[in-house]
């Protein structure tokens, strides 16, 4: 690590490679003046697993399952984007029914992911009861996922040119029952998160990302939309069945009439998106046509077709955290020549810098968590002061954050 020169009034604290917010490795180096953050540096790559490189020895169907293991929370969006990329390169079109089923799976994943995030955010500012409440709701969403796909997390549902499991008529009452439960509890969650005085004190005006910064730093997903940039792949483009559905951009001003781009706006953003997802699933169930669910059910035939493909393709999907972008180049071999994966957090790293500048140490967990970063895990923070090294554990950093909430509540 390269120590930057410090002036007399400032000092450095390195945070990481263990993540202060979610337990995933990323390395921050903060320059502080008292409690105030004056400079931030981010270092990445602690969990670089060379997944793209590993794809050079696999055929496209094997890569679907490799892609699924890039992320544990959005285990649908990576195979989806990879599938779209290879369909683009090979010119395969999925049957109409499959396109609707793909939307249902994508939106269900968004509900799970946003609820998970809401619980983590509550935990970061010291409201563990709210964590249990939101995760109880998430448990229902996971049960529904298990009912529809057979698994809770790694679902293995996506297939090139379609999807692997149909939703039959007898499954629909169960889905509707669960959607009704989400809608009923939504009002309660909204009240807990948006009307609570202490949540407002901690989140309003904290970690501001301006419209210009969001645009110039190429932020994606709820992070950029909470700053007022209307960018949502589901609305922007026509893929899966999103082109047929009634969907519009959501920005926090829908609810409050203004965009501040702070942590509070990012909470609003994700809660509204949960509601939007429920609505989209309902629309899909209503409008879903009957028919096949996969373009080519025989895998050997599909593989021999893909083997002949020469060309490039891109796949873009709106994951819970934002746009996920895959590029693929096929050169007539079994394995792809190049596969490039761009996860949403990749673009949401640079926006952290303007968000964290001017904030306090106790705000690091909630501000960093507010972009819903997705990397992998850790548990230790070191402080270097006057050449001596002190260690500050994740628990202590969390304690600082909780203490700030308690101070504000007094």
């Amino acid at each position: 690590m390269k120590q930057k020169t410090t002036s007399k009034t400032t000092y450095h604290i390195p945070v990481g490679p263990i993540h202060p917010a979610l337990k995933e490795p990323v390395f921050f180096e903060f320059e502080l003046d008292g409690e105030k953050i004056v400079d931030v540096d981010v270092k990445l790559g602690h969990v670089h697993r060379a997944v793209e490189w590993a794809s050079r020895k696999r055929n496209p169907i094997q890569i679907l399952y490799l892609a699924e293991r890039i992320c544990g929370i959005c285990s649908y969006c990576h195979p989806a984007a990879f599938g779209l990329a290879i369909e683009d390169a090979a010119g395969i079109e999925a049957p109409e029914r499959a396109e609707y089923l793909r939307v249902i799976q994508g939106e269900l994943e968004r509900i799970c992911s946003h609820l998970l995030w809401a619980g983590v955010a509550a935990h970061e500012i010291g409201f563990d009861t709210v964590l249990y409440l939101t995760w109880q709701v998430r448990e229902k969403a996971l049960d529904l996922t298990e009912y529809l796909t057979g698994n809770r997390v790694t679902k293995g549902i996506f297939m090139i040119g379609g999807i692997r499991r149909d939703i039959t008529k007898d499954m629909i009452p169960r889905i509707q029952k669960d959607l009704k439960y989400f809608k009923d509890i939504f009002g309660k969650l909204k009240k807990v998160f948006l009307d609570d005085k202490t949540v407002k004190l901690r989140s309003q005006g904290a970690g501001i990302l301006t419209y210009d910064n969001a645009l110039k730093l190429c932020a994606v997903g709820p992070t950029t939309r909470a700053s007022g940039v209307k960018k949502d792949v589901r609305v922007d483009t026509s893929y899966f069945a999103y082109g047929d559905l009634d969907i519009d951009y959501i920005t926090p001003d829908v609810l409050t009439g203004e965009v501040n781009g702070d942590v509070y706006d990012r909470i609003i953003q994700r809660l509204l998106e949960v509601k939007q997802s429920i609505d989209l699933i309902e629309q899909c169930i209503d409008k879903m046509p009957s028919g096949d669910i996969v373009a080519e059910p025989k895998l050997a035939k599909l593989l021999s077709q893909l083997k002949k493909v020469e060309g490039e393709g891109i796949g873009v999907h709106e994951a819970p955290r934002g746009e996920v972008y895959h590029y693929i180049k096929m050169d007539g071999n079994e394995a792809p020549f190049t596969w490039k994966v761009r996860a949403p957090t990749y673009n949401n790293i640079l926006p952290w810098i303007p968000m964290l500048l001017g904030e306090q140490i106790a705000d690091i967990p909630i501000v960093a968590a507010s972009t819903d970063p997705c990397m992998s895990c850790t548990n230790r923070v070191g402080i270097v002061k006057d050449g001596n090294k002190y260690e500050l554990s994740k628990e202590e950093l969390h304690k600082l954050s909780v203490e700030k909430t308690r101070r504000l509540m007094k």
Partner: protein, 178 residues
């Protein structure tokens, strides 16, 4: 963005061709339909001469500030190809164009100008291309490594497919460990 004028893919390609003439080596428009209504999303794949690459991006910003999704890269033997994936027209229902601008630089002199001064969000992806493909990004404000560990040997580029690639490191892992 919605405030600015929306562009059609044909206009976009024509605008580039008028401005840069033969320096635009190739440009093709691809369409993909989806769903019951078969609404179409268009992509432009454009290959430009590296000498005008930065001007092409500047020209694009003049038309509309794009979103840079990522840059991907291929080792093509004698040359290294870098493809910048832009998105334009976002903010309007189903009007987005995926604009993929590719540049090929020779392996003997793999140099490309930075665009992170005009699109600050390009920094991480440019740093990644520099460490993974060994392309020198001229004028980049931060040339440290990004994803590759600090003790990784110099002059080895994980995405290369020749002798500067990572071959010997994964074939003889026991020797690397020593």
């Amino acid at each position: 963005m919605a405030k600015e004028k929306l562009l059609t893919p044909e206009e976009l390609v024509k605008s580039f061709k008028d401005e840069f003439k033969t320096k635009i080596i190739d440009a093709k428009i691809k369409e993909r339909a989806a769903g019951k209504k078969k609404n179409v999303t268009k992509s432009i794949w454009m290959k430009v001469n590296p000498s005008v690459f930065k001007d092409v991006v500047k020209h694009l910003i003049k038309l509309q500030f794009p979103h840079l999704a990522v840059a991907s890269g291929n080792d093509l033997g004698k040359t290294i190809e870098i493809i910048y994936h832009f998105t334009v027209n976002f903010g309007t229902r189903m009007k987005v164009i995926n604009l993929c601008i590719s540049v090929e630089v020779p392996k003997t002199k793999p140099e490309l100008e930075t665009i992170s001064d005009i699109i600050p969000g390009a920094l991480i992806t440019e740093r990644e291309k520099a460490e993974m493909l060994g392309v020198k990004i001229k004028g980049i404000p931060d040339d440290r490594r990004c994803f590759v560990p600090e003790d990784f040997p110099e002059g080895v580029y994980p995405w290369r497919r020749d002798k500067t690639g990572p071959e010997k490191y994964y074939k003889n892992l026991h020797e690397v460990k020593k």
